[in-house]
Structures are given as structure tokens and as C-alpha cells.
């Protein structure tokens, strides 16, 4: 269980520095890329907290969140070009 706690701390630190890049990104492209990275960090935190709190269906939630992360990445890439393909 100590490995799960170490993983939660490290992924949380990665998420905080990703939020800093989202706030101070020079262009919109870097903000969109940091948003993608933040989604991955949140999915990893979902899986780790599912182990820590002994949730019976943590991996199903992670599966749905991973598919939604792909959809949100494509939506960000489409919004970055103002709707032009």
C-alpha cells in the first residue's frame, strides 16, 4: 500500500506542474497539450484512489475515462484550428 501512496504523491506533483504550464503557456497550442496531460493525470489518480479506497469497480471507470480522454483530445485538436480541418 505504500507504493500506491508514493504513486499518488508523484502523479499529483505532475498534475500541479501541468496546471502551471496551462496558466502560463505562451500559445493556445501549449495550453491544449497541457490539458491533454492533465486528463491523463486525472485518470491515473482515479485508478490509484480506486486501489487505496478498495473500490470494487475501479478499472471499469478507468476504461470509460480512457475512451473519453481520446474523444476530448480530438475535440481539443479540432477546436485549436477554429473548426477548420
Amino acid at each position: 500500500m505504500i507504493g500506491v501512496v508514493i504513486g499518488i504523491v508523484l502523479v499529483g506533483l505532475a498534475g500541479v506542474s501541468t496546471v502551471y504550464r496551462m496558466v502560463t503557456g505562451p500559445t493556445d497550442a501549449e495550453r491544449a497539450i497541457a490539458g491533454d496531460m492533465l486528463m491523463f493525470c486525472v485518470i491515473a489518480l482515479l485508478a490509484l484512489f480506486g486501489v487505496l479506497l478498495d473500490t470494487p469497480s475501479a478499472l471499469e471507470i478507468v476504461l470509460i475515462a480512457a475512451l473519453l480522454a481520446f474523444l476530448s483530445t480530438i475535440a481539443l485538436a479540432r477546436a485549436l484550428t477554429r473548426g477548420r480541418r
Partner: protein, 111 residues
């Protein structure tokens, strides 16, 4: 025994995430950021899901974890390439450029 291996794999995946975040802070350019995020989101999340599976190993959990690994390895690269293409179309600046093969192709740039 299985939980110890799972904890080691979880810490490895978290270190991959920390590497990706450090690259987001240090790299100069949007395209290098894309490469770092694609690597971290792909292989780091796969390692963390495998470690979570080893913490409570049942047959149904193993099936769902295989689905997650396949979906993540397929969609991480596709999403990263779509983001990089959109960043180039939105004229995000290139830094430390040595050559740019897309320079002559002005048909797809946004005006």
C-alpha cells in the same frame, strides 16, 4: 508477493508521469511538448493500470485491464499526432529548427 511487484510497477509509471511533467516545464516548443505528453500518457498510464491489476487479480479485472491497455496504446499516438497537426495549422512557433519539410506546403495553413 504480487502486491510488491504491483507497487514497483506503479512507482515506475508515476516516475514516467513526473518525467512528462518535467518535459512540459523545460522543453522550448509545442511539438516537443507533444512528444513528451504522448509518451507519458501512453506508457505511464499502461504501467499504472497493470500495477493496479496486480493489487487485486481477478479474471474480470484482467479482462478490463487488457481492454484498457489496448485502447490506450492505440489512441495515445493518434491523439498526439492530431494535436501536433492542429498546432502546426494554428501557427505555433518552431524553436531551434534545423529543417522544416512542411515549409513549402501553404495549402493547409490557416489564414
Amino acid at each position: 508477493m504480487l502486491e510488491i511487484i504491483g507497487a514497483v510497477i506503479i512507482v515506475l509509471g508515476a516516475m514516467v508521469f513526473v518525467t512528462g511533467a518535467l518535459a512540459l516545464l523545460r522543453f522550448p516548443d509545442a511539438y516537443t511538448h507533444v512528444s513528451a505528453v504522448g509518451t507519458a500518457g501512453g506508457i505511464g498510464l499502461v504501467l499504472i493500470v497493470v500495477g493496479v491489476l496486480l493489487h487485486d487479480f481477478t479474471v474480470s479485472n484482467a479482462g478490463v485491464a487488457v481492454l484498457i491497455v489496448i485502447a490506450q496504446l492505440l489512441t495515445s499516438a493518434v491523439g498526439s499526432m492530431a494535436l501536433a497537426r492542429s498546432a502546426y495549422l494554428a501557427r505555433s512557433p518552431l524553436r531551434r529548427v534545423t529543417f522544416n519539410e512542411l515549409e513549402d506546403d501553404t495549402s493547409a495553413r490557416l489564414d
